[in-house]
Subunit: 298 residues, 2 copies
């Protein structure tokens, strides 16, 4: 049976965008619960300045507080050499760096051009690789940008190739505002696969317009085998208050189970983890599978 | 450009399953608004006993109150000869009849076996066709049943063929509880197309497990060109309180626009109709596109 790797981004990308603060203990319980449900890659935190992202200020404490999780990879987001040092001190063995395919987004989000951001990440990646770490790359706005609108495929390819050339073992293509549809998603991964090889392409869809699972299906049909998702849809959409953000892991796993693609994840345990963290945040899981399983049980 | 026909089921299948009553005037405004947005097939009501479905007791008044809607077909649900007479008296030119692919569902939903239900619909269809009406067939529980679980494809084929043999110009395959995933949906329509011809196959997905758009994508890829949906996701899921039901028309049209498939529908006007009826019901549209467009505008 063919397998798909789920990269769970809820504890970082998700919680970073939640208004309610989540305690270190709750983060540890979340990551431990996800690992217990069979999730093998969990983005566990971020070593950025707490001035910019206060929600992630306790990432070192979260990592230090985790029980041993054999076989589970725990990448963290790192923006610069200072972040890398902190991540190293915390015993991290995998980091993620991030670029944008949209010039306007890069300027508004990280205050520099795409080229400048790549130049900034080069020494970080070099140092991480030299230290024996794995480095994952993110590219945001691959199917549209909240500031410039359309994003040329050539720009996505250029940034992805730059990240791969630096040494990223994988590039995760993010539809940051969830505007993409299946035909565009399919064409994009086809183009990227021709350049990087399909084994280095991951997809990261937001469900803002309800298209995430259809987009994922189209990408699976093209051969993509790594999918980012967020337990209980944690994170929402930072660009449209009240709209959906990250696709929910429960919904992706339900799709994959139905397609006969193996993830190693126990859906019932996963949904239970989703209900738990949603309870901490005081709301229902932003996952249709989560809601349906809860309604069925009630 | 290839076209897809949207069969809008909100005013009937949707409102029938809403707890809040909706006035005749609001139903007329809804149907008129949908037609104004370019929807060309709108299920406008149901001629069943008001004892069973009080929400549809005013269907004749709704039809009588509509302005002329040139080019718009307005099918109504009809359960028996008495309902057909009432529909004829109301000037209806198209009806829909309904069978289940699940024996358990047929017994629980309409108190008779599948065979009995088909025998009951035969004279209705004959009389309707003799009166020059068009007859559409629904088959429910095509990918799973709330009472018996799995439903064999052979049962879906048998009931669909029986409806087609009676003279239904099209059979709409309903995943009544939204449990199906893309591979099963694809295999089902492929099998049905071999039997009925793809031109007579429509699909009717519920989004209870978030799979509707992925399922629709898979069916479109197989050649399906008629899709049922419900404005603002009207109707919810009668089998799991709080869970999603009918896939939202806004979300389907967004997908189709992205794929370059034409529907003749103006998405912004459609979303505005969805906000209006949701306002009548006192809640937000159960459509991610509806929510995202509203959030973007705010």
């Amino acid at each position: 049976m063919s397998t798909v790797t789920i990269v769970e981004v809820g504890p970082r990308d998700g919680l970073q965008n939640e208004a309610s603060p989540v305690s270190t203990a709750d983060k540890i319980a979340l990551i431990t619960g996800l690992a217990g449900a069979g999730v093998s890659v969990i983005e566990a935190g971020s070593f950025v300045s707490p001035k910019w992202v206060p929600q992630m200020a306790d990432s070192a404490a979260v990592l230090a507080g985790l029980p041993p999780l054999p076989g589970v990879r725990l990448p963290v987001l790192v923006p610069n050499l200072k972040g890398l040092e902190a991540a190293q001190a915390a015993g991290v063995s995998e980091i993620a760096i991030f670029g944008a395919a949209s010039e306007a987004f890069s300027q508004r989000n990280i205050n520099c051009s795409i080229e400048e951001s790549l130049a900034r990440f080069r020494p970080v990646t070099e140092a991480a690789l030299a230290a024996g770490m794995r480095v994952r790359g993110y590219v945001s706005c691959v199917l549209g940008c909240p500031y410039q609108g359309a994003v040329p495929v050539a720009d996505v390819v250029r940034v992805s190739e730059a990240l791969a050339a630096m040494g990223c073992y994988e590039v995760s293509l993010g539809d940051t505002i969830g505007v993409g549809t299946a035909g565009a998603a399919r064409a994009l991964v086809k183009t990227l696969a021709a350049s990087l090889g399909m084994g280095r392409v991951a997809v990261h869809f937001h469900d803002t317009y309800g298209q995430a699972l259809a987009n994922i299906l189209a990408c699976l049909e093209e051969g993509v085998r790594t999918v980012d998702s967020s337990i209980a849809g944690l994170g929402g959409c930072p660009y449209a208050k009240g709209a959906s953000g990250n696709v929910a892991t429960e919904d992706v796993v339900y799709l994959l189970n139905g397609l006969g693609l193996s993830t190693g994840i126990d859906l019932d345990r996963l949904a239970s983890v989703g209900r738990q963290i949603s309870g901490v945040l005081g709301r229902a899981p932003a996952s249709k599978v989560g809601q349906a399983l809860a309604a069925k049980a009630a």
